[in-house]
Symmetry: C2
């Protein structure tokens, strides 16, 4: 097998994606050049094409990976049968998962319009699956009488928007810890959909 000038394919590949993630999040996809990503990793621009067919794929792969990780982590959560407990699990999970990877979250919400049509469809489909999970919890709660929402699907999007908003102000070194943030948001979520 072949070797490198101080780093491996196994090492450089992830480093390229990490640099792209950080730069796309900070400056936006369109504002970041391949040369800038390469400089961050210590390469010439041409070398990036050993790791991605093109710039668009770099963006899509980051977003796809984020959504896959999200759905996988969601399914790994306990799924209480009581709707209120299921909602609490979802709320705390969403806050934690998103607060832990602000760059990927930022990109996934901001760069949708820079995806080519086919790539956009894929990401939208994954996002919808995530929303459906919450909408189903709400519907079960409505059926059993513990929740009172007239439009479960819209309520799901409203709650997700509220919870993702944490990322606009939360800083790990800030006044509130993540568990404390959960204690601020969970009562609001619970009451918002209460019967």
């Amino acid at each position: 097998m072949a070797r490198t000038h101080g780093s491996h394919s196994d090492i450089t590949g992830p480093r390229v994606r990490e640099a792209a993630l950080a730069l796309f999040a900070r400056h936006g996809y369109a504002a970041v050049s391949m040369r800038r990503i390469a400089t961050e990793v210590g390469l010439q621009a041409g070398a990036l094409y050993n790791y991605t067919p093109d710039k668009q794929s770099l963006l899509f792969d980051l977003m796809k990976q984020h959504m896959d990780t999200l759905l996988q982590a969601l399914e790994a959560q306990p799924q209480p049968s009581q709707p209120v407990r299921a909602l609490e699990t979802f709320t705390r999970f969403h806050i934690r998962f998103h607060a832990e990877r602000p760059e990927a979250v930022f990109i996934s919400y901001m760069e949708l319009r820079n995806l080519e049509a086919a790539n956009f469809e894929v990401i939208e489909g994954l996002r919808r699956r995530y929303e459906d999970h919450l909408a189903d919890i709400l519907r079960r709660g409505v059926t059993s009488g513990v929740f009172g929402v007239s439009e479960p699907r819209i309520a799901a999007m409203a709650l997700i928007a509220m919870l993702t908003g944490v990322n606009t102000w939360f800083r790990p070194e800030g006044r509130l810890s993540l568990p404390e943030v959960e204690e601020v948001y969970w009562p609001m979520v619970r009451k918002a959909v209460a019967a």
Copy 2:
């Protein structure tokens, strides 16, 4: 005074801003060139510099104008002394105002990172004033015992994030009218901060 080739400064100026608004919203600030804006208006790129000193000012002016209009419209609203009524007024106002100008809202949330530092400060200050208005309503309600929120400032940001989320799915030709949307969100807002 001077005249034009079929259009005026008074007419071309607004058209430039309208074109920039639409294009920035659709493709993003960094992805839209001055030539593209010019083409949309029927000009050569150089002529745009009769209406803006540079591209950055074009973005900043759009965002500043949006925030000014927002704060002015907010202050023109009735300000009920009862916190619950004040919250309802705010909620319905926010939904309506934002749903009516999706492009300006989109830009104001997505292009913050493309503002130069000094311009960013200005927009952030205006946004904070808007958030403070809602936080004050919540604080008054906590004092009078009708609201039960542990962190009024965070609760304000949470509610605003939830309400602005309407823009991600609402379409005027969709199933729900704007008044119907208000009837879905207002109960959630009211209950979320209830004592």
